[in-house]
Subunit: 347 residues, 2 copies
C-alpha cells in the first residue's frame, strides 16, 4: 500500500475537511502552510467562481492543497407540484419569521456539475482532487490519471469503498455517521448508510487496499489514535475548523458549535434535499413536523438558497444549516494555524 503522506506530498497525515460556506482560501492555505492538507470546496460553484477561489488560495500558499467536488448525478426530474408545495410552506414560514421570500421558477434553475470544473482543475495543476456524493465518470478519472492527479473519493459503506477502489482512487475518505455536513453516500440514500466510524473503517480496511482517511468525530488525541488503530493512514477533521478565525461561518453558527453537546446534531434533508448532519434548529424542527416531501438535491438546495443567504447575513441561527459533527462542541475559537498545529501535536 502506498504511503498517504507521499501521495499527498505533506508532512502530516491530516486533512482539513472541505466545508462549503465555512472553508475559505485563507483557511486552506493556513492548513497547507502548516504541513497538512487544506481542502478547497468548489462543489456546485460556477467555473468562474471555482477558478477565482483556486487563485485566491494559490496566492496564499505554495504548498499542495486539495480541491473538493460534488460528484452527484443531476436530479432526474423536476416535480413541479412538489416544488410548489415546498415553496408554499417556505413562504408561510418566512412570513411567520419575518424573512423576505422570493418564489423561484424551476425553469430558471441553473446547476453546475463537477464535469463543468474538470478542465479548470487540470489547467490549474491541482495535485489532489477529492470528491463526495458519487463516483467520477471513467473519462474524468482517465484525464486526472493522465495528469498525475491524486484522487480521493468518499465512502459511507463497504460497498461504496469497494467501488471507489475499483475506480482507481488513490485514497478513500471513510465517513462515519459522526461526521458533520452532508453524507457522502451514493449507493443508497433512503435510508442512507449510518455506520459508526469504529465499525465502518476496519471493515473497509479489511477489503480495500488503498490508504484510508478517517472522517467523523475526530477532535482529540484519543480520537486521532483510534482512527489509526482502526486502519486509517490519516484523519480528516472538519468541525474543529468551523470556529476558526478564517472560517466564513456566521457568529450565530460559531456560537451554536461552541455550545453543542454530543446529542445536539441530527440528520436532516431539510436544507438541501440530501442527508446531512447539523445542529438541530427551528427550521429542521418545522420541516420535520410538516412532513411534506422534500425535493431532492440540488432542487431543495436552490429553493433554500435565498433564505439561507438572508439568515447568514443577519446572523439568524434558525434558518442556516448548522452543519456539525458529533464532537463539534469541543471546538475553540482560534486561528486556523493554532487549530492545525494542535492536531499535529496529537499525532
Amino acid at each position: 500500500m502506498k504511503d498517504l503522506k507521499s501521495l499527498l506530498n505533506v508532512r502530516y497525515p491530516i486533512v482539513q475537511a472541505p466545508m462549503l460556506g465555512v472553508t475559505t482560501p485563507a483557511m486552506v492555505a493556513a492548513v497547507s502552510n502548516a504541513g497538512a492538507l487544506g481542502s478547497l470546496p468548489v462543489g456546485g460553484l460556477s467555473p468562474d467562481r471555482t477558478r477565482e477561489r483556486i487563485h485566491a488560495t494559490k496566492a496564499l500558499t505554495d504548498r499542495p492543497f486539495a480541491v473538493n467536488l460534488f460528484a452527484h448525478e443531476p436530479a432526474k426530474e423536476i416535480n413541479e407540484a412538489e416544488i410548489t408545495t415546498m415553496q408554499d410552506f417556505l413562504a408561510e414560514l418566512c412570513l411567520e419569521f419575518n424573512i423576505p421570500f422570493e418564489r423561484q421558477n424551476p425553469a430558471d434553475f441553473k446547476f453546475y456539475y463537477y464535469e463543468d470544473l474538470i478542465e479548470i482543475l487540470l489547467e490549474e495543476n491541482i495535485p489532489v482532487v477529492s470528491y463526495t456524493f458519487g463516483r467520477l465518470k471513467p473519462d474524468v478519472i482517465a484525464a486526472f490519471k493522465a495528469k498525475g492527479t491524486i484522487l480521493a473519493g468518499t465512502a459511507t459503506s463497504v460497498a461504496e469503498a469497494k467501488l471507489l477502489a475499483q475506480d482507481g482512487n488513490d485514497i478513500i475518505t471513510v465517513q462515519g455517521i459522526e461526521a458533520g455536513g452532508h453524507r457522502g453516500s451514493f449507493l443508497a440514500d433512503e435510508p442512507s448508510p449510518q455506520i459508526g466510524l469504529s465499525a465502518l473503517l476496519p471493515q473497509v480496511a479489511d477489503v480495500v487496499d488503498v490508504p484510508l482517511l478517517a472522517a467523523g468525530g475526530i477532535y482529540n488525541q484519543h480520537t486521532v489514535k483510534a482512527a489509526f488503530a482502526l486502519g486509517a493512514s490519516g484523519v480528516q477533521v472538519g468541525s474543529l475548523f468551523i470556529t476558526a478565525d478564517e472560517s466564513a461561518a456566521s457568529e450565530a453558527y460559531k456560537q451554536a458549535v461552541l455550545n453543542a453537546k454530543d446529542t445536539s446534531t441530527q440528520l436532516t434533508r431539510a436544507f438541501s434535499g440530501r442527508w446531512a448532519r447539523g445542529i438541530q434548529n427551528e427550521f429542521m424542527k418545522r420541516m420535520d413536523a410538516k412532513g411534506i416531501s422534500i425535493p431532492y438535491y440540488t432542487i431543495q438546495n436552490q429553493l433554500m438558497s435565498l433564505i439561507r443567504a438572508y439568515a447568514q447575513k443577519n446572523n439568524l441561527k434558525d434558518f442556516i444549516a448548522l452543519w456539525a459533527g458529533q464532537a463539534a462542541g469541543n471546538s475553540k475559537r482560534a486561528s486556523t494555524e493554532e487549530i492545525i498545529k494542535g492536531l499535529i501535536a496529537m499525532l
Copy 2:
C-alpha cells in the same frame, strides 16, 4: 480511577454482552471460565426464572459473572385503542404469513421489573450487576453498595454517563450507535441519541472518572485497540457470540448474522416498542410501511411475544428480532470458548 479488572475480578477486560434470547448459562460460564466476564441477561424475567438461570450458570462456573437487569420505568399508561390497532395489524399480517395469532387482553399483561429481582441477586451474591434502559432507584443502589456489589449502568450519551457516575456506578458501559440490540438510552427516546462510539466514548471519558466499557461494533484487533485508545478500560462484545455453539439463537438468526453486511442493520421499534438495532427483515419493513403508532416497551414486546416464539420455533427469520451490530457479519460459527479466546488474543 480504579482498575476495571480488579473491580470485575477477571484476568481479561472483556465482557460478553447480555443478549436475552441468545445468551445461555453455558455461554456465560464459558466466557467466565476463560478469564473474561460473562453476563447473564434476566431483564423482564420472573423471579423464579431468574433464580433458575443463575443456578444453571453457577453449576457451570466458579468464576464471577454479571447479571444484567432492565432498569426502565413501567409503561405509564395502557392505550387500549393503540393496542387494538396494533393487534388488528398483527392479525392481518399473521394471516398473510400463515402464523397463528392470538389476541391478547391488556388486562392480562403481567410485567416483571428489576425491583422484583433485587432480593434474589443479593441472596445469590452476584458480584457484578449491570443494567440498561435507566437508572436504579437510590435504595436499590444502597442495598447493592452495602453488599459490595459492583454496579455497571449503560449510557448512550454524555448526559446519561454523568448521571450514572453521580449515582455511584463503579463502571459505565458506553454504548455506541454501532451496537446491536436495544439502545440503553433513558434520557430521551424519540429520537434516541445516535452517537458513534468513536465520538461518544472520548467525550464521556473527558467528563467521567470511572472505568468505561466500550460497546458497539467491536470485532477484531483494530476495534479492540481503538476502544482502548478512545478511553475505554475494557470492551463489551455481543454480536460475535450470536453464532456461538452455546447461543440460543435459531439457525435462521445465525444465518442472517453470518450473511450480514455493514449496511444490513437498522434501528427499529417494531419488535418491542424500544429502539433497537437489528438486521432488517420483512416484519420491520411491514411495520415501517404501515406507519401506525407502536405501543411503548413493554407493551409491544408483550404483543409480539407469541409471534416471536412461533417464528423462533419454526426458524422463520422474518418474524424474530435479528438483533445485531454493524460489524456482526464478521461472526464465525465456533464454541464460546474459541470466540472468547480469540478476543483475548486481540488484547
